[in-house]
């Protein structure tokens, strides 16, 4: 009874981190490392009278996609905002280091998937969280350097903000949905620091126009755009790991050049429709209101592809 264009499959945005992993990997293939029954939890939250989570809000492990071994980490955006913290950070860094170490051995995985869903660093353990972000970045680059692509999947409630935005940008490939958001400073942070005239965090259309999936993919801040259902993410994940360039000095130089060009071309724009006008997209103010199919068609037609990663 539900029309085809209304998503009636399980939605990435709505599902828990655990359910996203189950939908992403081959059925029954997931082997969790340090699962809930191991009770590796935050030692800090009790000081703040806050309940911990059995997995500290991140699930790590190995599994298969289309029969190929992968490593996967998923943040639970609903727990403490999916934040980077001591235990959750150590789990993520540990997974990445193990992947780097096993590269080229029979235990090697073909790629790593980071299901990021985070507002950034957990305030209650901020120092450890900041360390976790930098260690994660270092570990991602090591994994990429060993020739294993690290692919970010962004489409959760919390988006990928703060350190999560930095980590995302260090990945080999970024897959995003319409609901997904990527940025460093979150809308509320900008409003608090610069005033509502600079950025009205309650204007959700504005928030998504600036940080949301459609704008990010049009600007090259993400590489693949998918509909928000879980099987679209699975399809994109299966496809992405085959098409990712390796990390080299040349790749980084291209990326730097691309970002410089972007800044000089659009640095004075106040809002994304101005950018779309400048690059000649049809109906620049109406990008957000296109249907998913119309937008995907536009992406294909305009061949918007700025990414050098």
């Amino acid at each position: 009874m539900i029309p085809e264009n209304v998503m009636n499959e399980p939605s990435w945005y709505e599902l828990s981190a655990r359910a996203r992993i189950n939908g992403l990997l081959d059925a029954g293939s997931f082997n969790e490392i340090l699962g809930p029954q191991d009770r590796v939890m935050s030692p800090h939250l009790a000081f703040f009278d806050l309940p911990p989570a059995f997995d500290d809000g991140i699930i790590i492990g190995r599994g298969m996609i289309d029969g190929r071994p992968v490593a996967v980490a998923a943040q639970e955006g609903q727990f403490m905002g999916g934040t980077f913290a001591e235990v959750s950070g150590a789990k993520l860094v540990g997974l990445l280091r193990a992947v780097a170490k096993s590269a080229g051995t029979p235990q090697a995985v073909s790629s790593v998937f980071l299901l990021l869903d985070t507002g950034g660093v957990r305030l209650q353990e901020a120092n450890a969280g900041e360390m976790a972000v930098s260690e994660t970045i270092r570990a991602i680059l090591d994994v990429r350097h060993k020739g294993v692509p690290v692919i970010a999947l962004i489409g959760g409630r919390a988006g990928a903000f703060g350190g999560g935005g930095l980590v995302t940008a260090c990945c080999s490939h970024i897959v995003i949905s319409e609901q997904g958001r990527i940025s460093v400073s979150g809308p509320e942070v900008i409003e608090t620091n610069k005033g509502v005239g600079e950025f009205d965090s309650k204007d959700r259309a504005l928030v998504w126009r600036v940080t949301g999936g459609r704008s990010r993919v049009l600007l090259g801040g993400a590489d693949s755009y998918v509909k928000g259902d879980i099987s679209s993410f699975r399809k994109a994940a299966a496809h992405a790991r085959n098409s990712v360039p390796t990390l080299s000095l040349e790749t980084l130089e291209h990326e730097q050049e691309r970002l410089e060009q972007r800044l000089s071309a659009f640095g004075d724009c106040r809002d994304t429709p101005e950018i779309w006008t400048r690059i000649g997209l049809p109906n620049p103010a109406g990008i957000a209101d296109l249907t998913e199919d119309e937008f995907i068609h536009l992406l294909a037609k305009e061949e918007v592809r700025h990414d050098a990663r």
């Binding site: 539900i2 939605s11 709505e14 309650k202 999936g213 209101d289």
Partner: protein
């Protein structure tokens, strides 16, 4: 000799006072306060249009600026007291007495003002009750209203949010009162004439368009599994059972969940075309999937809803649309429709006591009534018959027969615990303590227990029609009150006996598995889905977007 034209003379006197301030009917915004000081006299009854959604906000601001030594002791008679300016009138000593219906965002401020003796309260009314009194003993001397546009003759286009305007103007204009309209724009020709110009004395183009509050938008993303379970219970235990075709829904999340389950779970139950075909209802965005799936034949609206105008204009077979192509709402007529022409009202409340009385008053808030008491009341003047109405009446009487009249189904849906773990079921309504404190002769009750036919919670349905005495009612209510203190204090044996009689029905009695209550059952799980269902015609306000 009796002077029979005192009111007419007084009106002429006041109009003469302001000749220098107006050009034709037009007043400049800067002159409005001076105009108000001359046409309003101390002690006047004033309706400062404050509807459920639409407010004459510019005129309200101007009225707060009049000199209180010149204009004071006004008696404010308006349905919605929702702007801070509305309360400023009392604080500044411009107004003294108040008769109203609904206060929404000002509910805490009103309670404070009453407590401090700043407001002399006449009564809190239901909508049609206050409108009725406009024509009997609360006729306004001056009405300050809001419209979308006016021509220079004063013809008004009130547009989709027509709401209370025709009623206010009718009462004022035909009783020698004075009507002043703020409009968003003065135009050469209005798209349609909602109010004829000869009923309007003055028009002013407001510096800003009047604000409309989106009140009826419920984000499907926020619908919980518990609300879905309750919606399933209601659909199977009440809609499928009584087959109400004509109905009104409240604005809570539980009824939004029902709307979103019609095309899925309702379809599975085979109810399309059998129930919920004709509505007295605000334009709920969550009803879009059911409309698009062919459930709904007709909807008359109390007001409009932000973002719904284009969708409704494109569905004139369903909504009441003027020849100009936009919605015409009318609160008085729709309330009347809800009272007399609907078989069922189903909505939420905050508190229910052991007799089924319900209230939205908390110790520090007076939210008023709005329309729910009329939607949720059996109209004793009703004489036409429907299957649902008769079945309810027969259940209540325990018999059938040529003189057993029907009953409106009045269904309260409440989660046993509300915000902040506040129990919805209580031994005594907070409104009783409030009435005691403020010396009110009648405690504010939203729906009296003798009008309530069913209470639906996540624990099941209590069918009060089948209760035969006060003890039955009390145990039926305790029996669905979950883990609240009222629920825990149930007499388990009596509750089981009521269950055996079908007075209480649990999900499992209805063949509903708790674990079926899944968000994937919703026909739309996000506002974005609603936009897609509407073929892009629904344009939600920015605060509901996540794209």
């Amino acid at each position: 000799m009796t002077d029979w034209i005192k009111q007419k003379k007084e009106r002429a006197r006041r109009l003469k006072e302001v000749v220098s301030l107006v050009s034709g009917k037009e007043v400049q915004p800067a002159d409005v306060t001076a105009l108000l000081e001359r046409v309003i006299c101390s002690g006047d009854r004033v309706c400062l249009e404050g509807d459920n959604q639409k407010q004459a906000d510019f005129l309200a601001e101007c009225l707060t600026q009049v000199d209180p030594s010149q204009v004071h002791d006004l008696h404010i008679v308006q349905s919605g007291l929702v702007l801070s300016e509305h309360l400023d009138l009392f604080r500044l000593g411009i107004a003294r007495k108040l008769d109203f219906s609904y206060s929404g965002p000002q509910s805490a401020a009103i309670a404070r003002a009453l407590d401090q003796g700043k407001i002399e309260l006449g009564a809190i009314h239901t909508y049609i009750e206050l409108f009725a009194r406009y024509f009997v003993d609360l006729t306004p001397n001056v009405a300050l209203i809001a419209a979308v546009s006016a021509d220079r003759k004063g013809n008004l286009y009130t547009g989709p949010n027509t709401e209370d305007t025709p009623t206010i103007v009718e009462a004022t204009a035909y009783k020698n009162g004075i009507v002043i309209a703020q409009v968003n724009k003065i135009v050469d020709e209005v798209p349609r004439i909602d109010i004829p110009g000869d009923q309007i004395d003055f028009i002013v183009q407001a510096p800003k368009p009047f604000y409309v509050e989106p009140l009826f938008t419920r984000d499907p993303a926020a619908v919980t599994e518990t609300q879905i379970l309750m919606a399933m219970i209601a659909l199977k235990g009440i809609y499928a059972e009584y087959r109400p075709r004509r109905l009104n829904h409240g604005i809570g999340f539980a009824t939004a969940a029902i709307e979103l389950l019609l095309p899925t779970y309702g379809e599975q139950l085979g109810l399309r075309g059998e129930v919920a075909t004709h509505w007295a209802l605000n334009p709920h965005p969550t009803l879009i999937p059911a409309i698009e799936s062919g459930w709904v034949q007709q909807i008359h609206c109390f007001g409009s809803e932000v973002g719904m105008d284009r969708y409704m204009s494109a569905r004139p077979d369903v909504y009441f649309i003027g020849h100009d192509g936009t919605l015409r709402s009318n609160r008085l007529l729709c309330q009347n429709a809800g009272l007399y022409a609907c078989d069922m009202f189903i909505g939420s409340t905050l508190q229910i006591d052991l007799a089924g009385n319900s209230s939205t008053v908390t110790p520090d808030r007076i939210a008023g009534f709005g329309g729910a008491p009329n939607m949720g009341a059996d109209a004793h003047g009703r004489r036409h018959v429907s299957e649902a109405w008769l079945k309810a009446g027969h259940e209540a009487a325990g018999s059938e027969g040529p003189l057993v009249r029907g009953r409106k189904l009045v269904v309260q849906m409440v989660e046993t615990f509300g915000e902040g773990m506040k129990p919805a079921f209580v031994e005594e309504l907070d409104s009783i303590a409030l009435a005691r404190k403020l010396g009110m002769p009648l405690a504010p009750v939203m729906i009296f227990g003798d009008d309530v036919t069913h209470i639906v919670t996540e624990e099941g349905i209590a069918n009060l029609l089948l209760c035969r005495n006060a003890d039955d009612v009390e145990q039926a209510i305790r029996g669905v009150a979950g883990y609240t203190p009222v629920g825990l204090a149930r007499d388990r044996a009596k509750v089981e006996a009521l269950r055996a009689r079908g007075v209480i029905r649990r999900p499992e009695d209805l063949g509903i598995d708790l674990l079926q209550a899944d968000r994937n059952l919703l026909a739309a799980r996000s506002i974005r889905d609603l936009v897609t269902w509407s073929d892009g015609l629904y344009a939600p306000p920015s605060k509901f977007r996540n794209w």
